[in-house]
């Protein structure tokens, strides 16, 4: 019984430790994007390639992160998928001619720079990263 308790504590400790490193992901957009907010459903549609507009009609172009913690957290939180499943779904769209793959950038600073200079673009970064040149969308 003591062994079982030790195992439970060990698992709980591991889970706490593994989630401790995650910080909040925020959604950013180019200044030309009219909306100041987006719903979770909007983000799911736009980032899964089934829509190119937010609910209020604003046309947007998504930009991705390279595989890593930010990408994992965003797709898990807003799309309910693993990054592998997310990319597999996009490959389906690309290889069947239904979409072009959005750009995947290496870092938060690269995403911020691209979103700042590209009208209509929408991306995501860690909240602690610098993002003065773009607007932050509130997620409802």
């Amino acid at each position: 019984m003591n062994g079982f308790r030790t195992l439970l504590f060990a698992v709980a400790g591991f889970l706490l430790h593994s989630t401790h490193g995650l910080s909040q992901v925020i959604v950013i957009a180019n200044a030309s994007v009219r909306s100041s907010s987006a719903s979770k459903a909007d983000l799911r549609e736009v980032f899964s390639g089934t829509s190119s507009t937010l609910r209020d009609g604003t046309r947007v172009v998504p930009v991705f992160h390279r595989p890593g913690p930010v990408q994992d957290e965003f797709v898990a939180t807003y799309l309910g998928k693993s990054d592998a499943a997310f990319r597999a779904a996009w490959r389906s769209l690309v290889f069947s001619g239904q979409a072009n793959m959005p750009r995947s950038l290496d870092s938060d600073s690269a995403v911020v720079a691209y979103v700042a200079r590209t009208p209509g673009s929408i991306g995501y970064i860690e909240s602690k990263s610098s993002h003065e040149s773009v607007k932050v969308l509130a997620v409802q």
């Binding site: 829509s51 190119s52 592998a84 290889f95």
Partner: protein
């Protein structure tokens, strides 16, 4: 016959045009300055897979699978660009080898896509046909866990011929109402060509018939997909209407040439899919019921009736970030065939696993337990006759970029 020859020429001219256009697109892509590629978001993607088949009891899919066959290779190159906010252009070429079905390069699709808004867009050229749940993506191996999609609805032997058509697709979606989900709609029309090396004609040759020019004809259809308010649940239906298709047919043993007519018929599909986190499930059913007439000079017409009803149910689960597993049951029964004959049906239980080494490289393994022989077997490769059941093991390695 004149009209048919004209169609052959039209198809060949169109194919030549598309191949030249694609070659030009590739040459532009490789020679253009980086800022031009960046401006038009020119992208190059591709994937390649190599499969190995091992079976007991019967040799399957026109391969020597009882000795482990490596005759399953796919290689795809895709180029796309976005010249303006509403227009996309792209093309995809494929090398496909599968048993004795195919061994060559073909154009998967080459299209211009004009998307007015989310409610309406149109693709024209050689386009993927959205005639069922997975038809548009059934040849895209990196996109799913399975090595073979359920064969009753997605027969790999005639996969390439049913993937696309020359013509167009109109598409769009609309919110049904607050809290009622979203409706996606697609309508398509044009001409389809089933090449003479298609797996469907293996059955013809077993009957002593050959279609040296394959089959071609017009068809159109529509699909509705309802993304329901229940998160992850999609329900849909599609129907395809084919006109009368005609082609030259040869009675092999008598060296007689005649005319084959596949009478007009429709292909209904009903499907649903559900995904929640790491779990995905889907089910689909369809019915194929053509009447085929073969007329030869001096002989009574031969009438072939088929009434195949097919369905499957599948589920998959992502065990870890790199490992996924799945299970499906797939069944097809030809209700026009003689009772008691194993060639009348196929019932296939399949267990699958996929391991992603990284975002580019993956390995698949799949075990099939097949009862019945309705899927394609070649009697020349099974000289002692077909046994009623088959065990099939598949290993597949793939890379995509």
């Amino acid at each position: 016959m004149t009209a048919d020859t004209g169609n052959v020429r039209l198809d060949d001219r169109l194919k030549s045009f598309l191949v030249v256009a694609l070659a030009l697109a590739f040459s532009v892509a490789f020679s253009a300055p980086a800022q031009v590629l960046d401006k038009y978001d020119v992208q190059l993607h591709g994937y390649a897979t190599q499969g190995f088949l091992y079976s007991t009891q019967n040799n399957i899919y026109t391969t020597d699978s009882s000795d482990v066959s490596p005759r399953w290779t796919d290689a795809v190159v895709n180029i796309g660009a976005i010249p303006s906010a509403k227009i996309r252009v792209g093309a995809q070429v494929r090398y496909f080898l599968f048993g004795n079905y195919s061994n060559g390069v073909s154009l998967d699709w080459a299209q211009v896509d004009y998307r007015v808004n989310q409610h309406f867009g149109v693709r024209a050229g050689k386009v993927k046909t959205p005639s069922s749940l997975y038809n548009e993506v059934q040849d895209i191996d990196p996109a799913y866990i399975w090595s073979l999609l359920p064969p009753s609805v997605y027969p790999v032997s005639s996969r390439n011929s049913f993937l696309s058509h020359v013509g167009g697709v109109a598409y769009g979606n609309v919110q049904v109402g607050d809290g009622l989900g979203k409706l996606e709609y697609r309508a398509w029309g044009g001409r389809q060509k089933i090449g003479p090396s298609d797996g469907i004609f293996v059955i013809y040759r077993e009957l002593g018939l050959d279609l040296p020019e394959g089959l071609r004809g017009g068809y159109f259809g529509g699909t509705l997909r309802w993304k329901t308010p229940i998160s992850g649940l999609l329900v849909g239906a599609a129907d395809t209407w084919k006109s009368d298709w005609q082609s030259k047919v040869v009675l092999i043993n008598a060296a007689l040439t005649g005319k084959e007519t596949v009478r007009a018929f429709n292909l209904p599909n009903y499907f649903l899919s559900y995904s929640h986190g790491k779990f995905e499930a889907a089910a689909e059913c369809t019915r194929v019921h053509p009447v085929i007439l073969d007329a030869f000079p001096g002989l009574s017409p031969i009438t072939i009736r088929v009434d195949t009803r097919a369905w499957y149910v599948l589920g998959s689960y992502k065990v870890t970030k790199k490992l996924g597993t799945g299970l499906y049951f797939s069944e097809q029964v030809d209700h026009a065939a003689l009772l008691g004959n194993p060639a009348r049906f196929s019932k296939d239980w399949a267990l699958a696993a996929r391991y992603d080494f990284n975002q580019y490289l993956y390995l698949k393994a799949e075990q099939h337990f097949i009862d019945g022989t309705a899927i394609v077997y070649d009697t020349e490769l099974n000289p002692r006759g077909l046994k009623p059941d088959t065990r099939l093991t598949i290993l597949k390695i793939g890379v995509s970029f």
